[in-house]
Subunit: 312 residues, 4 copies
């Protein structure tokens, strides 16, 4: 059974009107407005609206620090200083609103970021689309044996094919039964007049977690950088990381100076604890330091030596 055309989640197109504004405007981001970046098999992210630019960060910092900042002649220098020293409030002055289509199990990770505004498509009110995330074979991987929350070797042989077939079959069957439960030919007309049909708020429970949903998600640049730190990180699950990476590219078009500062000081950065700093100073002084007398646990020692590309 299939749902009518009319029931497909519509994606509003870009408006054709160009307006005049006195607001801070970023041509590189204007060029991307409303344009969906395709992700996974049916997902996307696109910018619907934004407020502020690199200069808005500087402007906010200058009202805070007042005349105290007049010697920092260059905006870039000030933004990089703010990022390096974690002066985060000026970054809150920029705001961005995304339209995102994503599988429900990824939406459940994403929503844990509380400092954002969300309007999600509601399956209490409306009928979900028949779209599911089925991974690309290159993404079908076994559980990592060293990392409880990671994956490792890509599935080989026909196991991948069997896994894909099973994921697809279960999702489709669950969706078809969901549609049967609803019993809606359209919102006004039952598919089978002899059945009452099940309320939408109940029928949705039969869907699988790879069903796609969508939402508007709006946050400020500070909270977005925090989101990206966790979700564009190599430890993040691949299926959310692709969204984060696409968003980071959007941020680079929007606030290029802040995005570069973020890449330099946050993304590739590493924090050393006080005991690690002490080991580091001894090593730089030419001393041969051994783990047992380093003050670090064996695990911390391994992590530190890996970061420094030194033999553990």
């Amino acid at each position: 059974m299939s749902l009518s055309e009319d029931q497909t989640i519509t994606i509003p197109a870009a408006p054709e009107t160009v307006y005049k504004t006195l607001r801070a405007t970023v041509p590189a981001l204007e060029a991307k407005l409303y344009e969906a970046v395709p992700l996974l098999d049916h997902g996307f992210v696109r910018v619907i609206d934004y407020m502020g630019d690199d200069h808005a960060i500087v402007q906010a910092a200058r009202v805070s620090y007042g005349r105290g900042t007049r010697k920092v002649s260059e905006d870039a220098g000030l933004i990089r200083y703010l990022m390096r020293h974690r002066h985060t409030t000026p970054f809150e002055m920029c705001e961005i609103k995304f339209h995102v289509k994503l599988p429900i199990f990824i939406a459940r990770q994403w929503i844990r970021h509380r400092m954002a505004s969300v309007n999600e498509y509601s399956a209490r009110y409306s009928v979900m689309d028949r779209e599911f995330y089925i991974p690309d074979p290159a993404q079908l991987a076994a559980q990592s044996t060293v990392n409880r929350q990671g994956r490792e070797a890509v599935l080989e042989g026909d196991e991948a094919a069997r896994v894909l077939a099973l994921l697809r079959t279960d999702a489709e069957r669950s969706y078809d039964h969901y549609a049967w439960l609803l019993n809606e030919e359209s919102a006004e007309k039952p598919a089978d007049p002899d059945r009452q049909g099940l309320a939408r708020e109940l029928a949705r429970m039969n869907l699988t977690l790879n069903t796609y949903t969508q939402w508007y998600w709006k946050t400020d640049l500070h909270n977005l950088f925090h989101f990206l730190s966790l979700r564009a990180d190599s430890h993040a699950q691949y299926e959310i990381r692709v969204y984060a990476e696409a968003m980071l590219e959007i941020v680079e078009a929007w606030v290029p100076i802040a995005a570069q500062a973020y890449r330099d000081y946050r993304l590739g950065a590493h924090s050393f604890s006080a005991p690690m700093l002490s080991v580091l100073r001894r090593m730089l002084a030419g001393e041969k330091v051994e783990q047992p007398e380093s003050g670090l646990s064996a695990r911390e020692w391994r992590e530190m030596m890996a970061t420094l590309e030194q033999p553990a």
Copy 2:
């Protein structure tokens, strides 16, 4: 295929030790600590910890209003005044932590309340239990024809039986396939040594939305009252309302005065707009008011007359 005993989500039992404390302590809530209130078919809510009592609200209000409050001789009077006039910050001084087991599609509604702390069972790290929400036949209802987000007539005849069978079969099959995808006899040993198994963070996508999850959920009394206003309301979905009602009973044991004030001024309250107040004054003055000249839309007029139990 079944998972081993060892993989069942464990519910920590109440500690046997009784401690001595100088903190505000509520015997009626102590009697309920750690005790799971069963909800739906496999869910529960229970209190794990709390901070503050009715007097903590008063104490906070008195530090705010200082000597200005010394004439409000009675705690109850002050708490009722705070509730009536929406002085909300003193209610934030009480905090409570729940352990909740609930279906995923309800967890998705619940998490929209952002002013709370959450630690949810992670299906990236661990294996989900084989438990699904299958509604009681009395809860299987058709879509409401007047309310897009509601349900109406209970399913009759054998439609209910067919619906239940389908929900159960789909959930069980999806779970069994999830277990097959994982291929874990135990965390260390594959079920089938010839297969690699799929990483947990991927396999979970095959589960249906009525699978049970669980979390610790901690919030303050002000935000809890806001949650209850929306979720213990008659328009809330039945499956979350039962949790809200159980939590309201817990709140009544914890802060009986605040809970009564909440029931009196918030739960059963109704807000009248300025134009509605004007209509009300004319009616009380003995005037016969008609909708067309009332300044209210037909819909607002109907809502108002229903609230006042007057003929529309």
Copy 3:
């Protein structure tokens, strides 16, 4: 002693460039951008940036309610429905940034609204301006005898003159001493080379609470409406109410439909508790209800009869 020109808090002027954008743009608000609305004796509020318009609220609601909303043909009807039924999240999709200059004792009230981003002029980094709030004689009022947090009769005779003189003299003297403590002819050159001068972060403690400060304050429309409900209310202190009223006028230019819905359903609205509703129904049925058997306290009874313009 006076500070140099160079030390005056600068107010960035409106940019002269007009940009082209695809974003939602509100001509009526564009006309007000950067324009300071003067308030009190030296304060102001002005809009620096904004995101979204009335349609953005509708757009967010429609993604939530999906195809379920297609029958609400008119945007205004949907916005009014959202406001009446407290569906608040779509209003979070609009964001606004103000530049505000205000006395410190009012800033202390304002900052209690936590769901906003703030960058305030810092007296640790920079020198404060020599500007203080001295009330207009019409605003010099005695303590209310019925309301612990209100004022009442305007001061008469020469008491007002004495009060004003004292406020002015104390503020000026404290500021002059602050400048003396700083000992800065300019940031580089001491006023008196024989003194070290006191650090800015310490010297500021000598200022009086009517000294003006300024900040960028950014929030979303839902939280702004909440702010306005408390601060544009007749119980709010006059000195913050004038800011709230000016901001409400700005909101009316920005999102006229939402602003009108807010005025109708929130600003002039009154909430009746369950026991009050019961009294109301009896009165409308022609019954003569007396306070002692009404279920309401004497105070609640008086409040209710005043609202209904009935004799208590």
Copy 4:
């Protein structure tokens, strides 16, 4: 003129009753409950209530990571892992409520931390106490010449004495005038029956910023650690740092394992950017690196070499 005894801000004493509870209880913190730690000349901080302990963090992490954590046999190891890898949500499960008395200009810094609940003594409702912060001579320092937000050399000669006298005289005079403006012998009786007196909400504007206020301040352990990172830091203003340090001692009594992990991984830690890590690896490989070809700015180079105790 002096205010009556009755108008002094009262500090509720510890309750004498010892209660029995099943909740997590920390004897080392119970011993400190209600006990004011004196700070500055008239300030203090004291714990009024708390919820949770080190084990509550572990408990929350285990519900998140489920059976995945069963191999981390020791609580301390898990807490240290969470802290090192910034898994912050389990720390939100602990909550603490402080009663703090502090100068207004410090309260203005403090309140910028938004993720907390606050009830402050209100000068709209009540009369402020006649207490001001006058720094110890050892804290009277000149503006730093290298750090716009710091202080440096302690004032010498008689400049300190003149500064102290001026601070004291201005605060006392402003307060005396505040009391004159109020014209309250008591809340019911004017000091001078021929004057109306000025409303409290207005009279307060004459107070200086070193006047003491007080509040209840409640937050969770994650947000408290964030507060301490900024306010117990050597760059924080001395007058707020003493509060942060006293609170850190309280945290050590409350959650000793988490507090130690915080000291090891957060307080003394230093973050190196990607370019800095590259320099570090070259240095450890025995290479002689110079700033101009390091990829770091001169300022970053100096900061890095200072951290590593290497010649710049």
